[in-house]
Symmetry: none
Subunit: 220 residues, 4 copies
């Protein structure tokens, strides 16, 4: 009511001469549109229309459609891995740490369907754009490192069996968390949506965590 609107960045006119804001806005919208339609299915015009700037600015800042897509992909990976990094498992016993990691990953993937879709789309493109990005590769090895740390601790405590491959373990966690989101449309079209209710998903998540834990546990 009595808001004087100082430095209002969203109000019309308040965002002129704000390069960073313009780029961020484009990136945000583009992420949504690319995730929805894929690379070739996306229309630059649609992105522009949903942006607070013009189509021209997309080319001004990102060069071309592929350039924008590449940046969207990078930003998506960065954001998701950043979210993962916030999870601190160092203080927990290894079994508990791994369990928490799986649970978190499962939920995290569910919470970021746009990211999942972008990765799917990138797989359709044979990971062409991801391969060119050093940024992304760097960000991802951190995930492996964290897992390796848990494995080492688990081996030391005797909870985990020896010779576990962190990459293979990551593969298992990812598969079970990723598929849940990526293949939900076809899966529910074929077998119904019961598996995607809140309770079913919670049970599934716990099941998944149990499966992963069982696979690392020392066989007596």
């Amino acid at each position: 009511m009595d808001n004087p609107l100082p430095e209002n960045e969203n109000a019309k006119g308040g965002w002129k001469q704000d390069p960073a804001g313009v780029q961020a806005n484009i990136l945000e919208i583009a992420t949504m549109v690319f995730a929805e339609h894929g690379l070739s299915g996306t229309r630059i015009d649609e992105i522009a229309a949903r942006t607070r700037t013009s189509k021209r600015m997309i080319y001004y800042y990102f060069g071309d459609k592929e350039g924008l897509y590449a940046r969207v992909l990078e930003a998506a990976y960065a954001k998701v891995r950043e979210g993962e990094a916030s999870l601190d498992l160092d203080g927990l016993p290894p079994t508990e740490a791994l369990s928490r990691l799986v649970t978190f990953t499962f939920d995290h993937h569910r919470a970021h369907p746009d990211f999942i879709r972008l990765v799917m789309i990138e797989n359709v493109h044979q990971a062409d754009y991801l391969q060119k990005s050093d940024v992304i590769r760097r960000v991802n090895t951190a995930a492996i490192d964290r897992l390796a740390a848990i494995i080492r601790r688990g081996e030391e405590t005797g909870d985990f069996c020896h010779g576990l491959d962190p990459v293979a373990l990551h593969w298992k966690i990812s598969a079970l968390s990723f598929f849940n989101v990526s293949n939900r449309p076809t899966f529910s079209a074929l077998f119904g949506t019961t598996l995607f209710s809140e309770t079913a998903q919670r049970r599934l998540r716990d099941d998944v965590a149990a499966m992963v834990l069982a696979s690392v546990r020392k066989t007596p």
Copy 2:
């Protein structure tokens, strides 16, 4: 002049006046091209060029691009599920049967990357085209039925715990088999290709089978 050209499929004219053959050829090529580029990424011209007929015939037989895509999807599901149906597990004890089913699924997915890619693509499209196809739904419930049979037998023998959901079990098997193929491009771009060598894949497959079996086994 009076050259009969009998049964020569490669010679010019050998396939003319062969509607079924022309359609099959179009479908085969279209499967490859759609699997490679996705729906919007595919060019009717590319399909036509790799076909032994012309672009005009694609429209003649399939109406439009979406019609062709829908037929490709149906054919792909039919072919893959048909391959699965050839697996006869009825004579085996339930544990063995499930183990064989998982192993087979893992290998079968690996052997049909184009199918996997088509399913991925269909997921990007929110399963729009799959939903319209009654054919596909019918074909897929068979997979659940077979799994339900194994579960029932496992419960009877006491090998499996009670209350197993065949759909959830199918979900687990699918997740671990599907991701392996669908996300291979991004996964190997990020973490290298070691996990995709023949030996590593065999170990992974056995690991996966063990995980699934552990998840159904009766807890003592």
Copy 3:
């Protein structure tokens, strides 16, 4: 008046389904427009507007702007060299033959300013497109061959000195005939148009022929 207009190819409607005619029409207009504005200065829309078909057909038949330009260049060379080939000098004594060739070339260049402009434009482009065309190269060696024949005969009769290089001779004839057309705009802007009146051009042409002849004549 009582013309029934049978097979009228120019009347509206008479040219449908006439691929060769459409292509020829595009090529003719494109030649004029490229000659007027150069490669980058030309607008495909302008060509299309002056054509009896649409812009779309330009791409249908010629691929892209550069493809059209390349074809225009080829056609221009072919047409001009074809005109030259119609000149029969075999029956004439060598001095007379060479004189006639120079005179003809000078007039021929004047009569085809569009061709001259296209060659100028191609030189601005470092002959990039000409280099790719085998057609053009083939057509041009004929000009050298004809000149070589005249030189040989002149040496035999003793009219010409020995060791004449047909390529260098061609260079001289070309230079004096080409510049007259190519640099007419700047030259007349700087020094007036008197040199380009009909009579002055005739005198210039005869002067040029005399210069060339003097350069090949045996020095006593």
Copy 4:
């Protein structure tokens, strides 16, 4: 902090606040780029990128693209004619003077291919920009004056025939010197590069000088 940075032209800041230097730099780069790509083929962005200032300054100092091109053309003519003016032929006998002038012109053109290209480009544009420039016209009449002086002296000594037109003579010298540079790309694409070797060019130049001299010499 208190770094004076005196007379350092390369260090950042050394050329700031140097309007004349900035303009000269723009002009120099623009000359190269226009000569390379023509008027419509040139991108202001390319000029700006190769300049030590920004695109904005080009507009600041030269108004628009055409204004810059016009200035480039003027500067090019001025520079080349200035080079010619340094040639002092007054002390030589007329035959020798003319011979030296032709030889010099031939070499001078070869040494300034960018100028030749700019003139070609201007001819493609029908000399539109040259016509508007009084500066250029003034500079060029000097060339005719000098030639007229030689002719007068040659007529007086009886070496040259009567009634020679200095403009026509200039035309001949120009044609043979200009074509050598302007049409080198197409000519060598068609007939090879042998004519453009150092030795062949020297012989060609002497040939050209001989041709021009023969054309003015009194016929006995």
